[in-house]
């Protein structure tokens, strides 16, 4: 059988791993696919290349298809998330100057308590607090707004969230453009390594189960090539499962480090994959077991309620009606396509396609086809629960 070719774009980040592994470890070939992966210079360029059909699919920030459905960011509609590539994976860091102020004020950098870290940050920082995120439509931006506004910092009055590409974050801090940042790995570790900043909190402490990156496709392509899309979902799912196996970790770090992919030291990538971060220049480390999740707890299932949560948060900060936005955007997360793709593999799938977001304070068994699916803790730090429009 001749391999069918699929062109994919990615941004060099640890969470691009599922696509790279699907290609390198032969999971794509097993599905009869030949992947061509190209590195994109920016999220906006990647989105546009996907939108105009230069790429079939892409590694994408989960809010991008949602924003497109709401007509935000210049692109309107046409993009869907057919599976989730990763859960969590971002960290919050502060400039060294701000880190020193936090320490002087007695903050312990315990790295697990969003409330105490947030309150300490609000107390120590000049107002408005300026935080850099990689893209306006990103889990980074949503979580930063969620976290600090829930702790009583009024936005936009006292909180400015600026877009700064991760590679330029260091420069922005040195130039005094931002006080803190929220980035995906390895850029948090890189900031520590280059002495630009210190890490304050993993985003998993804000929301324990945040859909971070998705496998995004153009709707026309998904409609025209259903078999191809489903093969791709399965290949990437196998790559995700492989990545979640602790014995894959060293190989994964070495593979991603290669010049064609992330072109960064394997040791740096291993920190994120292993959930053991160095948080300051003097070598303090913290263990974060849920730093990034590729597989456990139906991690790759694109829940409609995830799209709804993103849409309602996004709507709130740009002045749209949250419920209407949730309704408009919920179907950008294509749990229907994901089910069709995974049905033949016999894996256990959730019974519903939407769930309460933030309701689980511990790992919990839920209704599923085979009745043995356990969803992990997904609580927000402040205990809020998002109820979807439809279950």
């Amino acid at each position: 059988m001749k391999a069918r070719s699929v062109t994919l774009g990615f941004i060099p980040l640890v969470d691009a791993a599922p696509l790279i592994v699907a290609h390198e470890m032969g999971f794509a070939a097993e599905e009869g696919l030949s992947l061509t992966l190209s590195r994109a210079p920016s999220w906006s360029a990647l989105r546009d290349m996907l939108r105009i059909g230069h790429l079939d699919a892409a590694h994408m920030l989960s809010p991008v298809p949602v924003a497109a459905a709401l007509g935000l960011g210049g692109v309107s509609g046409g993009l869907s998330a057919v599976s989730v590539l990763s859960i969590n994976g971002n960290v919050i860091g502060v400039s060294r100057e701000l880190a020193a102020r936090l320490r002087d004020a007695g903050h312990d950098f315990a790295f697990d308590d969003a409330r105490s870290a947030g309150n300490a940050l609000i107390a120590a920082a000049d107002k408005p607090l300026r935080i850099g995120v990689p893209f306006p439509f990103s889990m980074h931006a949503e979580l930063v707004f969620y976290w600090l506004t829930a702790l009583g910092l009024p936005a936009p009055e006292n909180l400015t969230v600026r877009t700064v590409p991760p590679a330029l974050m260091g420069e922005a801090i040195r130039a005094g453009e931002i006080d803190a940042f929220c980035v995906g790995e390895p850029w948090g570790s890189q900031a520590v390594e280059t002495g630009v900043g210190e890490l304050l909190l993993p985003c998993s402490a804000i929301w324990a189960f945040a859909p971070e990156k998705v496998l995004a496709v153009r709707d026309e392509w998904a409609d025209a090539e259903p078999a191809l899309v489903q093969s791709l979902i399965r290949a990437v799912w196998r790559a995700n499962r492989w990545l979640a196996d602790p014995s894959s970790r060293m190989l994964a770090a070495e593979m991603l480090a290669r010049p064609a992919w992330l072109d960064l030291p394997a040791e740096l990538l291993d920190r994120a994959l292993g959930g053991r971060l160095v948080i300051s220049a003097n070598g303090d480390t913290r263990n974060v077991p849920d730093l990034i999740e590729f597989h456990r707890g139906a991690a790759t299932f694109p829940w409609r309620s995830q799209a709804e949560w993103i849409a309602s948060r996004l709507a709130r900060r740009v002045g749209l009606d949250p419920d209407r936005a949730a309704e408009q955007a919920r179907s950008t997360f294509r749990s229907d396509i994901y089910r069709l793709a995974m049905e033949p593999t016999g894996i256990d799938l959730p019974g519903a396609s939407a769930k309460l977001e933030g309701a689980l304070s511990a790992d919990t068994a839920v209704a599923s086809r085979a009745g043995r699916l356990i969803l992990p803790r997904d609580a927000f730090f402040d205990g809020e629960i998002y109820e979807p429009l439809l279950k």
Partner: protein, 194 residues
């Protein structure tokens, strides 16, 4: 909106910026500003209130411009990206040529066309130059490696330069490889043994 359209060109390379400005000047009368620094890019652009922003699609700073699309204050003018609004394939052509344009909402496509046409022509040229440069570099690199390998064969086997090249070429054909690859393998192996 004044009658003369204002354009901001985001480009760090001064020579490239000048070429773009020149071709835009040829295309019509515009007010053109070049921004070469990337810190505070979105803020710098906002201060200029341009009708059109042109930026190289490979510029990693481009994401900073996405903020402009969220401008919602009463005094701010929303900026839309052109990609989705054209029916004539102009935006596709632009992206293919390597330029992305941010355009203020409500700007007539007819007024935009000459600008994009000029930018597209210019960026196509840049793209060609980039490809040519990469090709030349690669060819030069290969030539150097082949020369070194030739020298090694000449010395080891006591043959002439032409004979040495023939030996490399034959080995390449036998292994179904390129001469440059065989040469590189020889140079690497020799490096390990010396």
């Amino acid at each position: 909106m004044s009658n003369v359209l204002s354009i901001v060109v985001v480009e760090e390379d001064r020579d490239r910026a000048l070429t773009i400005v020149d071709s835009l000047r040829d295309a019509g009368e515009f007010e053109i500003h070049v921004i070469g620094t990337r810190t505070g890019l979105a803020r710098q652009i906002k201060a200029r209130e341009p009708d059109v922003v042109l930026i190289d699609i490979t510029n990693p700073s481009r994401d900073m411009l996405e903020e402009l699309a969220l401008a919602s204050g009463p005094m701010e003018r929303p900026v839309a990206m052109f990609v989705d609004r054209s029916d004539d394939g102009l935006s596709d052509a632009a992206i293919e040529a390597g330029v992305s344009a941010y355009v203020v909402d409500g700007l007539q496509p007819a007024r935009l066309k000459p600008i994009l046409d000029a930018a597209i022509t210019r960026f196509r040229m840049f793209q060609r130059m980039r490809t040519e440069l990469a090709e030349t570099k690669r060819a030069l690199e290969e030539r150097k490696v082949i020369d070194r390998a030739k020298g090694m064969v000449m010395k080891a086997r006591g043959v002439s330069e032409d004979e040495a090249y023939a030996i490399l070429r034959k080995a390449a054909m036998d292994q179904n490889k390129r001469v440059a690859e065989v040469a590189a393998a020889l140079v690497t192996a020799a490096g390990l043994l010396s």
